[in-house]
């Protein structure tokens, strides 16, 4: 067990909370390569993995790191990598291989301004990359989008269980603000002992006295590859039934709804409270899982409100999925900022006032 105080409130940086959560979830291997704004993640693992007998390794590149994740996951270890937007792009080939080989792992993306090298400020412009696959092929990553340091801890911890359950990479999607900021957090007393986790009967961890296991993503015969793909796809269907997560604030009786995740949702809460104090009936629906997408929840919301405002730190990504499930039930508007510029509560109040006025007119 690491030396962090447990069961009592402390202040922690988002990036540190993720790394502590992984160790507490029984993760015993981390492979990464430095990039701002997630550098405190490898830093924390480097200091604290040795306390639990785990492996920290700074690879020679992001590509090398994700392939080391492949190896450790194949051997049955709970394993993680972390990076920020450009580095996550480099890992996409490896993530595709992990998904096709039915290997569980956790990948953290502390998003920064893009595209390209961009900058180191907070952004949410990797939404499409995260929920639509990112790499090549028919796979998906399961995507969780925390909005606080406590939730970074809780969801990272849970991500390892989800990854094992669906034998698939799980992506934690944060941004430069969530990774760098400090908030009060309570680290629970109980931790996962990796030795007590259910045995992964498919792992390549030594075949003495049992038939050998093979971890592979190459299937030359077309029907055989399709069979594997359908098996994996069935797990995504199961995830779509079981892993949708949303949170709601003030939606009861609301005429307007904001749909936002992560940092944009934090801004939305401030804006909504201000708008409500001015008499506006507005609430928030916050997807906590971005894949599977809360399609039914948003469709049903669209039946109850006059309009939806999608707030995102990108220029129209989340809004596409919202419009797809709203399917014309109500107008869907976008408030998007880009390049590391964060929506202010004032921006959002103004956008909501505009919508409320439109509604009256």
């Amino acid at each position: 067990m690491t030396s962090i105080p447990r069961g009592t409130r402390i202040l922690m940086r988002g990036n540190e909370a993720v790394a502590q959560a992984a160790i507490d979830a029984g993760c015993r291997a981390f492979f990464g390569y430095p990039i701002t704004p997630q550098n405190q993640v490898p830093d924390y693992f480097a200091r604290h993995m040795p306390e639990v007998g785990g492996v920290f390794l700074q690879a020679e590149s992001e590509v090398a790191a994700i392939n080391m994740v492949y190896g450790a996951a194949a051997a049955g270890t709970r394993v993680m990598t972390a990076s920020s937007s450009p580095g996550i792009s480099l890992k996409q080939e490896g993530i595709s291989y992990l998904a096709q080989s039915e290997l569980p792992c956790v990948v953290l993306n502390i998003m920064r301004g893009g595209s390209g090298l961009g900058n180191i400020a907070p952004a949410q412009a990797d939404y499409f990359q995260s929920v639509k696959g990112g790499g090549h092929g028919d796979y998906r990553t399961l995507v969780l989008a925390p909005w606080s340091v406590q939730e970074l801890y809780n969801l990272t911890r849970e991500a390892f269980d989800i990854a094992d359950r669906y034998r698939n990479p799980v992506l934690i999607l944060g941004d430069a603000l969530l990774g760098q900021m400090m908030e009060p957090i309570t680290i629970p007393e109980e931790v996962v002992d990796p030795a007590r986790l259910p045995r992964k009967t498919w792992a390549t961890d030594g075949a003495k006295d049992r038939p050998r296991n093979i971890i592979n993503s190459l299937y030359i015969e077309e029907p055989q590859l399709e069979k594997v793909n359908l098996r994996i796809d069935a797990r995504y269907e199961e995830a779509a039934r079981k892993e949708v997560r949303v949170a709601e604030e003030h939606l009861e009786g609301a005429r307007l709804a904001v749909v936002a995740y992560g940092t944009a949702a934090r801004v939305a809460v401030t804006a909504i409270e201000e708008a409500r104090s001015g008499g506006m009936r507005v609430g928030l629906l916050r997807p906590i899982a971005l894949y599977p997408f809360p399609s039914d929840e948003i469709a049903s919301l669209a039946d109850r409100v006059d309009a939806i405002l999608v707030a995102e730190l990108s220029l129209g990504q989340l809004v596409e999925d919202v419009r797809l499930v709203v399917a014309g039930r109500c107008p869907v508007h976008l408030l998007g900022r880009s390049g590391g510029v964060v929506i202010t509560p004032a921006d959002m109040v103004e956008a909501l006032r505009g919508l409320a006025g439109e509604d009256r007119g």
Binding site: L11, A121, P184
Partner: protein, 238 residues
């Protein structure tokens, strides 16, 4: 901004440097301390020596502080977002101006101390205070205890630590009980290190909860805000 003897937490020396792990409140302390020094009629200059993590730094508030008359020296423009030491030459000049009070916000824990070490000969040629901010509710992610941090800071800077600043808080959830128990821990740590507590720092809105601690109290109007926190002075996130 202060009570129980306004200004008595101000260092009599030309240079004061605040150091300590990320999250102990150095930047808030350095800003409020500098404004208090200015308000006490002393020519004051605040220096951003935090180049290790380019977030939540003095330089982010440079324009707002300049409007209040406080001179801030920080890496210019786009260089501010770099993680390598892009430091303006004005820093050395400010340290050597003995008639001015120069306040250094040294970020990046002991790695920041290495940077401060680059100015050590200039600082040590006059009198100075090197104060470590301590928040018992913020575990040092490096796992170093205070004694080890002190040893590293002194070894890397070649300067002596001259005191602690007690800043016990839990962010937005800070209650009177945290301030009280935190103070007990900081004063005990100071005693075991053989250091004084130079002053106690607390957010202005918690003024009523600050117990009689027997050291000067700096009340801070908090500047380092997240974009969604009300009263943000930043129109846009960086």
């Amino acid at each position: 901004m202060t009570r129980r003897g306004a200004g008595d937490f101000l260092s009599p020396h030309p240079v004061v440097a605040f150091i300590g792990p990320f999250g102990t409140g150095k930047t808030e302390i350095a800003i409020s301390y500098s404004l208090a020094s200015l308000a006490a009629g002393r020519e004051t200059c605040l220096v951003d020596l935090d180049v290790v993590t380019p977030y939540f730094r003095v330089g982010d508030y440079r324009e707002a502080l300049a409007r209040e008359g406080l001179q801030v020296i920080a890496a210019p423009g786009a260089l501010a977002s770099f993680e390598n030491p892009a430091l303006p030459p004005e820093i050395g000049e400010a340290i050597e101006q003995r008639e001015m009070h120069t306040v250094l916000d040294v970020g990046g824990d002991v790695r920041g101390a290495q940077l401060l070490g680059a100015y050590a000969h200039q600082i040590a040629s006059g009198q100075y205070d090197l104060l470590m901010a301590v928040n018992p509710f913020r575990p040092d992610p490096s796992g170093h205890g205070l004694a080890e941090q002190r040893r590293l800071i002194e070894e890397l800077t070649g300067l002596r630590l001259t005191g602690l600043v007690a800043n016990p808080h839990l962010g937005s959830l800070t209650e009177r009980s945290h301030i009280e128990s935190g103070w007990q821990q900081v004063s005990a740590a100071a005693e075991s290190l053989g250091l004084r507590v130079a002053f106690f720092a607390a957010a202005e809105e918690l003024a009523g909860g600050v117990p009689e601690v027997g050291v000067p109290v700096l009340l801070m109007g908090l500047r380092v805000r997240l974009p969604w926190e009300a009263g943000t002075g930043r129109a846009e996130g960086k």
